[in-house]
């Protein structure tokens, strides 16, 4: 795995390509970028046929041990690794520990073990078991075992220090087993940076992890909900300063577009793409605008659209009924979409927008039809991937400020009524 940076903008933002991915090294991934989120190797709701209606899919698929650990025995019998087991062919597999969407109950971590929760309940992992899993899963790249349980608001300094120490110890042990394991030769390991919300611990974790022979770094314990944005950015900036420039940094648990932008500025290269899934699960469609190409005709259209939506929002009163819902999406269950025959996003090239209308999606959602999840997942994934494309383009063109303005201000034309 090799990170080739073509630009470093404003001290933090990095634009480049992660090359040499996969066992034969023929895959690459542009950064800033995201991985393809899956559960048990499947992008939620999507069969391979529907998934591949999307173009420009990330070359890296994220697996989560929490959704596959319970199948260890099956995979051992199968022998050929998870890629073949799941019918995934031409993709790089990255294996993370937890599913970023499903929070882990606290209080089950010990000095020697961490736990993941599958469909059948808790599975406790020692380094030995963790590594045995990696050997049967056979990813191209995985994160080392980590104790990231620092997200609760009253976590003590002692507990945070412990999480850093344990995670380093796990890493050393993982690397030891890794180098002795024939099946894992050529597989990349990411070290995990912990440290909760304590700056010194973050710096210590980063410095120590960077001393180890790792291919890159996961930044853990900074997920949405664990701390406020300003603190997160401050910590990330401090951490990335300690990390070698030539190795990629993957931020776990952060996916909102505004947070992504800020974290990219603080030096993050990679994200998990679970956000489109969360939006899908609440029956919403991503619609935020990230188009900064100056096109006067389009600008007029957008202004109309904005006025349109804003007016309706006003009539409808409070918009964020579900406090999880962000301002980057529209709630298609809302009655106002009942007879709205426009695509989810005008000009979007995804299968859903090329074929279907908001009114149809509204109908599928109110009748609890399974196709709603399929179509929304397709659109939300396409929209999210396109956002990352626009972000890279903005970095290349030196127009990040314009993009930030657009994304932060626009918010589906709904901010006006909230203010």
């Amino acid at each position: 795995m090799k990170l080739e940076l073509s630009r470093v903008v404003q001290g933090g933002c990095r634009l480049g390509v992660l090359k040499g991915l996969g066992r034969s090294g023929q895959h690459s991934l542009e950064v800033p970028g995201c991985l393809l989120y899956t559960r048990c190797g499947t992008v939620p709701h999507l069969t391979q046929d529907t998934l591949h209606t999307l173009t420009n899919l990330p070359s890296v698929t994220q697996l989560t041990l929490s959704t596959i650990a319970e199948h260890q025995e099956v995979l051992e019998d199968f022998k050929d690794g998870f890629r073949k087991f799941a019918g995934l062919h031409d993709t790089v597999l990255y294996c993370s520990l937890h599913d970023p969407v499903t929070p882990c109950p606290a209080g089950h971590i010990t000095n020697k073990t961490v736990s993941v929760w599958g469909s059948g309940g808790r599975i406790e992992l020692t380094v030995a078991k963790f590594m045995a899993l990696q050997r049967t899963v056979r990813p191209d790249w995985y994160q080392s075992m980590a104790d990231g349980e620092t997200w609760q608001s009253n976590t003590s300094r002692k507990r945070v220090r412990k999480s850093v120490d344990r995670t380093l110890a796990h890493l050393d042990e993982c690397l030891l087993v890794h180098h002795k394991t024939q099946e894992l030769q050529g597989v990349a390991v990411f070290g995990v940076v912990e440290g909760g919300d304590i700056l010194e611990e973050r710096v210590r974790s980063a410095k120590e992890t960077a001393k180890r022979p790792v291919a890159g770094f996961c930044l853990d314990g900074l997920q949405t909900g664990s701390m406020d944005q300003a603190l997160r950015i401050q910590l990330i900036a401090a951490v990335t300063k300690e990390l070698p420039e030539g190795k990629p940094r993957l931020l776990q648990g952060v996916g909102r577009p505004d947070e992504v932008l800020a974290c990219v500025e603080a030096g993050v290269d990679l994200f998990e793409s679970f956000f489109p899934f969360q939006v899908t699960e609440r029956g919403c469609a991503l619609c935020f605008n990230f188009d900064i190409t100056p096109d006067p005709e389009r600008a007029v259209l957008e202004a109309d659209e904005e006025r349109d939506t804003a007016g309706e929002t006003h009539e409808n009163g409070e918009l964020n009924l579900d406090d999880q819902m962000t301002s980057f999406e529209i709630n298609l269950k809302d009655k106002r979409y009942q007879d709205d025959f426009r695509p989810l996003v005008e000009g979007c090239g995804c299968y859903c927008c090329r074929n279907h209308q908001r009114a149809y999606l509204h109908h599928l959602l109110v009748t609890n039809e399974l196709l709603a999840g399929v179509l929304l997942m397709l659109h939300n994934t396409a929209h999210y991937l396109a956002f990352f494309g626009a972000l890279r383009e903005a970095l290349a063109q030196d127009t990040l400020d314009l993009l930030k303005k657009k994304v932060l201000k626009e918010k589906c034309g709904q901010t006006k009524s909230k203010e």
Binding site: R39, C40, G41, T42, V43, P44, H45, L46, T47, Q48, D49, T50, T53, T67, I68, E70, H71, E73, V74, D77, F78, F85, A86, G87, G118, S119, G120, Q338, D339, F341, Y351, N355, H356, Q357, A359, Y360, H362, H363, L364, V366, T367, E369, L370, L371, G373, V374, L375
Partner: protein
């Protein structure tokens, strides 16, 4: 056989134009071309030309109740070779409602389905939602399960909704009684269904674009069935359905009613056996002369992890498949079988809805492939042989052949070894 309509006619003189218009409106937007007839059984292979595409029969029509086939995109359905699928008038009439669907250019436009659609009358839900309804000569009174409002579904209303949906084949509103009911109620329902057929024919606003099928009723009473057949075949409708069966009656009664119906139905019009979809039932009823079938079973059972295979079915969620690395059916060419193993599907069922979609795709592929093989064998004049091979594969031994199927096949000159 109905004569194909000449549409590209030069019309200069107004009189000719007038008379032509009259002829055209009298001819339905449906043509049935009989491609082959089995010399032994009553089976036939036809090309059913409908407004959106030609349907090769015998055909199984998957059910997309609420304007979607559970979790499958229209492109997936089309790529499986589906030429016609169903929508349910009762459900779609409630939500999103006929006005909205009309605004979306009909159900085709609303769900973006390019091939043909058949809609039921909404009447079948009378049986399933019987506590919500009261049947009078006027129609069926429902209480809306969504807002409690009382709704009258009359023949006119049913057709009006189906006209809004724009389906290629509409079904008349019939007075449905459960097939296990006997006595005067069955006779009343049969006669009322005939009267309602006439009201439906009169109510159809789009006879040039939408075909209205009659539904033969009469329960399990051969005399009543015959009267109904006699009456309904005198009406000028483009096709007939055999209704009131597949509701829990004895299979011995079922097949006798089917074969009685096909004996009296005109050769040149399509015959649709409602609610039938088990593989054995399909093969037998094709032999009895039916052309079209529908059933929710293949798609509903898929969502519970039951995959249809030539030897019956396979419960993917059962533990025995956790380490079974073969596809559902090694001979199946569907996208699911080409990519995934039983073991992977077993694992995925614990995590994600996509597991259901995989099995749904497989089951639709199974049904459509089965019917294509049936058709092919009829065309090639080897349908009797096909049935024997099919039965051998489906049942471990001939002792396990269901008696009704053996009898039904014997009635059309097929003896199973």
């Amino acid at each position: 056989m109905a004569a194909p309509i000449e549409r590209g006619v030069d019309t200069n003189t107004p009189e000719i134009n007038m008379s032509l218009k009259k002829t055209l409106s009298a001819v339905s937007p449906l043509t049935l071309r009989i491609v082959a007839e089995c010399p032994v059984t009553k089976a036939r292979a036809c090309d059913l030309v409908l407004p959106h595409c030609t349907v090769n029969t015998p055909v199984f029509m998957p059910v997309g109740t609420q304007g979607t086939l559970k979790g499958i995109t229209v492109d997936q359905l089309e790529s499986l070779g589906c030429q016609i699928c169903l929508g349910n008038t009762y459900h779609l009439g409630m939500r999103p409602g006929p006005e909205l669907i009309e605004k979306a250019n009909g159900l085709h436009g609303f769900m973006k389905w390019k091939n043909n659609l058949l809609t039921d009358s909404g009447g079948f839900q009378m049986v399933s939602l019987v506590e919500l309804s009261e049947v009078t000569e006027e129609g069926v009174k429902f209480k809306s399960p969504y807002d409690g409002k009382e709704i009258l579904l009359s023949p006119e209303k049913s057709i009006s909704i189906q006209n809004s949906l724009g389906s290629d084949i509409m079904m008349q509103l019939d007075d449905v009684v459960s097939s296990t009911v006997t006595g005067p109620r069955v006779e009343e329902a049969m006669h009322r269904s005939i009267r309602w057929l006439d009201r439906c024919i009169a109510a159809n606003k789009n006879p040039d674009k939408q075909n209205l099928f009659a539904i033969i009723q009469g329960g399990l009473n051969a005399e009543l069935r015959k009267i109904c057949l006699e009456e309904m075949t005198q009406r000028d409708v483009p096709g007939f359905a055999i209704g009131g069966l597949s509701g829990g009656e004895e299979k011995d009664d079922f097949w006798r009613m089917v074969t009685l119906s096909t004996d009296h139905l005109p050769r040149e019009k399509p015959r649709y056996l409602m609610g039938v979809g088990y593989a054995v039932d399909l093969v037998v009823c094709v032999a009895l002369g039916c052309d079209m079938f529908d059933c929710v079973f293949p798609t509903r059972t898929a969502r519970f992890g039951s995959a249809l295979v030539p030897w019956g079915s396979l419960q993917v969620k059962q533990k025995q498949y956790a380490k079974d690395f073969q596809p559902i059916d090694p001979d199946c060419q569907c996208p699911t079988c080409k990519r995934h193993s039983r073991a992977y599907l077993h694992a995925l069922f614990k995590t994600d809805t996509a597991a259901m979609h995989h099995v749904t795709v497989h089951n639709i592929a199974y049904q459509l492939t089965l019917m294509r093989s049936v058709r092919q064998s009829i065309v090639e004049g080897r349908f009797p042989e096909f049935i024997r091979t099919f039965m051998k594969r489906m049942f471990p031994s001939s002792e396990q052949y269901p008696g009704w199927a053996v009898d039904a096949l014997a009635s059309v000159n097929i003896t199973l070894d």
